[in-house]
Symmetry: C2
Subunit: 286 residues, 2 copies
Amino acid sequence: MDAHLRDLRYFLAVAEHLHFTRAAEELYVSQPALSKQIRALEKQLRVSLFERDHRDVRLTAAGKALVPHAQAVLSAWHAAEQALLTAANTLVVGMSTAPGRGLLPAVRARLSDVSLQVRQVPWHDPTGGLAAEETDAAFVWLPMPAPERYRWVTVATEPRLVALPATHRLAAQTTVDFADLLDEPFLALPTSSGALRDYWLAVDARPDRPVTVGAEIANTEETVEAVTAGLGVCLIAAGNTSLIARDGVVVRPVGNLAPGELVLAWRRDDRRPLLAALVAAVRASL
Amino acid sequence: MDAHLRDLRYFLAVAEHLHFTRAAEELYVSQPALSKQIRALEKQLRVSLFERDHRDVRLTAAGKALVPHAQAVLSAWHAAEQALLTAANTLVVGMSTAPGRGLLPAVRARLSDVSLQVRQVPWHDPTGGLAAEETDAAFVWLPMPAPERYRWVTVATEPRLVALPATHRLAAQTTVDFADLLDEPFLALPTSSGALRDYWLAVDARPDRPVTVGAEIANTEETVEAVTAGLGVCLIAAGNTSLIARDGVVVRPVGNLAPGELVLAWRRDDRRPLLAALVAAVRASL
DNA sequence: ACGCTGTGATAACCAAGTGGCATGGACGCG
DNA sequence: CGCGTCCATGCCACTTGGTTATCACAGCGT
């Protein structure tokens, strides 16, 4: 009988990690839920896919046999989704941070025959979904990993400000000097975001001293939360001030910090006219 | 996001028939259920797949684009299932009618290292799931359609008896002459079963006069039901007497009717040693 | 016009599926 | 022996998928 594609994703995650708890984390579900789904899948297929004991998890012969086929099914489905988007003249645009500034409405107006699907992508992916081909274009902050694989157009160049708890000793000042922040714990992007993490920690602007990371943040809510809780301070782009400066969070300009560059990026090898039209529309709307 | 493979089957069924009611029948679900699922699929994919009005249903461009991909996904999954069965040393054996006679336990005993998955197949498929590659071997009654595609070994040769309502005028006799049944309405297999339908209607044994079909039957329960309800009489194999002769149904021998042949069949082009082992075990168990 | 027929959509309801949290229980380790 | 790790289980809430009954609409025949 037919399975849910989700179960195949679950299966592959467990097969990859050989560890239910970690696979569950990656999938953003609880470990019991994952356990239960895998058991259900095994029951449905009438085959045991994993041998588990308290020490570790191994693939059975059947499990090993399933891995490539599960991958094939999922990639066939991915192709199907792509075909649908093409058929519907739709581009998926990832957004690490909202470009804001009225840009999107202007672009949509110029591309009335193209439907744009805007998708918020979590911050652990510095390519905004481009690398995994989950998006066709993405608003991301430089630097990007593997820049030779992408092209981009700058959308905004904005100073980096610092977000502080309202109760912070520096919150009283109208401007903060970066030197005064050196000993503060900083909120950081997940390590998977690579050079971008360092960029928002302003590692370049620091003397040769390790940064203290107070917490990792993966979206706006977590950031506000973490700053309010005093877990650390955080550099943000000027354009995002309104998203962050609320409740107990204040935002202050920082002296002597190079501005950040928000770009619309796309895969260099993606030469679809539809995408070119999007890029042209964005350029024209700046 | 990921879909349920069932939804793809549903989609393909509607795409093929361009008719919700008929597709629903084929899928053995109600028409509203199918309608709802297709709507949900469209909503999930954010694309409309069909244009419907009261007269007919048409595929949209997106729908047309999805068809081949949906087929690809399903066939990839089919391959996955096959791989699992191979990995688990499992053969799927279809059963139009239980071979009974203690055959299956004997075969299992001889094939302790092979796991047999026995599956009841509905009577509208005279190949017992072999044609659709849903089974690796099947216990079916001759004649088979496209016999050049299959091989088989005879498992039992059994007289055909007639099942009658207990209240039937002929039920009082210990033996029934087929001539006395000519004017009776008969229960028939679905038309899709082709020559097999004629076989169990004993068309060969009739003078050139059309058969009256009282109802179509697709499994044992329906048969008992229909006979009891007096919708018609029905030829059955001697070995199935115990399945049918209950409640208000009696079974009587019929004079002058060639016996039926129950065979284990498999696809001629299927040369897997595992299958050969099954055939050998069946032969040895006769 | 009027009612019948065929067809998809909708409503109300119920069962099964899916997820979360708390907790259990087996094993290895200091 | 207690503790930590890690998968399984029990229980509960919410969602999903299915059923039946009914509606709405368009042709069609009278």
